[in-house]
Amino acid sequence: MRILLAEDDPMIGASVRRGLAQDGFTVDWVPDGRAAELALSERVHDALLLDLGLPRKTGLEVLTAMRRAGDARPVLILTARDAIGDRVAGLDAGADDYLVKPFALDELAARLRALLRRRSGRADPVIAYGEIELNPATREVRKNGELVALSAREFALLEALLTRPGAIQSRAQLEDKLYGWNDAVESNAVEVHIHALRKKLGADLIRNVRGVGWMAAKPDIAA
């Protein structure tokens, strides 16, 4: 999952970014409100982590503009202000959740996963797909109940495909999920990872639509 982090404090930004990366998120970090809007317009992020006290354009302004533009992506507010008024204003402006600083990285990751899960319409945190089970919290994938070892990128790719089963996703879309701005994209990386996934989980799981992209085949088809 690719997350946009808008946070002006460099130490907090760096720590959140590293912590979320350890939890399997790809994090892009912007230090002010204008940069956040610019990044949002790329539409590659699955969720926004928003600090309210941003320079140049406040978090609340970014959020309001985003919702007005019809952007429904999940937004989690990070705020140093614990005044109830700020939180209420944030939620009223269209935020999905909030965390008051200082917060635990584990809690932040858990809330992000919950937001992403809710957005894809699932209540169960574990994505079950035929004989395959993917648990975003523990980052474990089981086939017929047996643990399958996957690399971080392989997991991210599988998660991207399974969250929207039946939808064809292009190479660029999938690359966006796998790589942040600062990561060098290896050529053919998507093919390499899909090859590995097919090998580990079965050739039928991921279907290639030539010239368009990849999709997770419907479970009944796959079975």
Binding site: D8, D9, P10, M11, I12, A14, S15, V16, R18, G19, Q22, P55, A80, R81, K101, P102, F103, A104, L105, D106
Partner: protein
Amino acid sequence: MRSIRRQLLVWLLAGLSVAIVGAAIGTYLRARDEANALFDYQLKEMAASLTDAPFAGVPPAASNVAPGPDTLVVQIWDRNGVQLFMSQPRRVLPQHAQLGFTTISTESGEWRIFSTLSGGQVVQVAQPMSARRELAASLALHTIVPLLAVLPFLVILIWYTIARGLSPLDRLAADVARRSPKLLEPLAEANLPREVQPLIHALNGLFERLGNALAAQRSFIADAAHELRTPLTAVHLQAQLAERAGNETERKAALSELKGGLERATRLSEQLLALAREEPGVPDRPLVRVDLASIARGVVADAVALATAKGIDLGADANGEVSVRGDANALTTLISNLVDNAIRYTPAPGRVDVIVRPERAHAVLEVRDTGVGISVNDRPRVFDRFYRAAAAQATVAHGSGLGLAIVKRIAERHGTDVELAAGIDGVGLGVTIRFPLAESA
């Protein structure tokens, strides 16, 4: 304790008593004068009525009426000095040679005498003065008795009036007692006597100053708590990352970041403390004669290592002794804040100059650099605490936003202000502070 009520009562009663005694004396004196005139007229009339009747050897025994104290004594002599008549044989007054009115002293007190010569006879009518005095005294007594009778009522009236007049003070006391640090509204001035108004004005002025000081303190604490939360959040996150570290390399990197976070939080709390020391309301340390040049040299010596590490040429031009009246600790904080700022916001290779020189009646402190400077738009605001100019934010991520606020407070306490301009050769920032030169000891 002195009581206004008792004091007023004592003085009013004393005044009243003096007035009553004065009235009595005045009445007595006037009554005596009137009695004198009246009785003198009476004596004269009596003498005149007697001169028309010639006496010839009327035996004195014929009259044996016992004399009253105020009785008139009439005596008549012929031209040879033979007494022809005396009204009261027991009261014998000497024949007085002088005609007309006289007052004489005898064993039986003072007598008023009128003598007249008519038809070869001397008629002398006498009356004791005590009679007149008694009349006057009785008149005076009649005047003051009613006044004395009214006195107790007056005391009650005065007591009540004073209580009534002072009751606004009781209400005021209750009103003041209701005030607390949370409730410092001005006292109502309506319905209070004019005499109490100055007190109300003074109290309201005090409440206002107190309220402002408290509000400033509250906002300072709120700001401080808010600003401390950011570095503490960073430390919190850095500690979690260190905890999660899977191997030695990761742990070392995480701990090094944690150390950076702790240094930043420490510096912020130190800056907050420095600012709190300069907050209005804190008792000022006394200003004494200190050598600004030597303080500047000391600060530069301390900062050289940092400057060199950053590739910045830091130097002092502060020779000899330039004395000002100041607080050495505060001035050290002021100069080191300016030098720290200059080093922070000057990219390598750069230069920072610290200059102290006397200029007429001033000791001028200048800290100039070749750094990013402060735009003209930002200059008025950089002294607000926690305000950070955009250029500053872009250059140094972890400034506290307090350095210049502290500098300004300290400068103000030393009776001067901070001027911002361009720095060396029009680049960077130049900060100038003019202290009044200390008079030579």
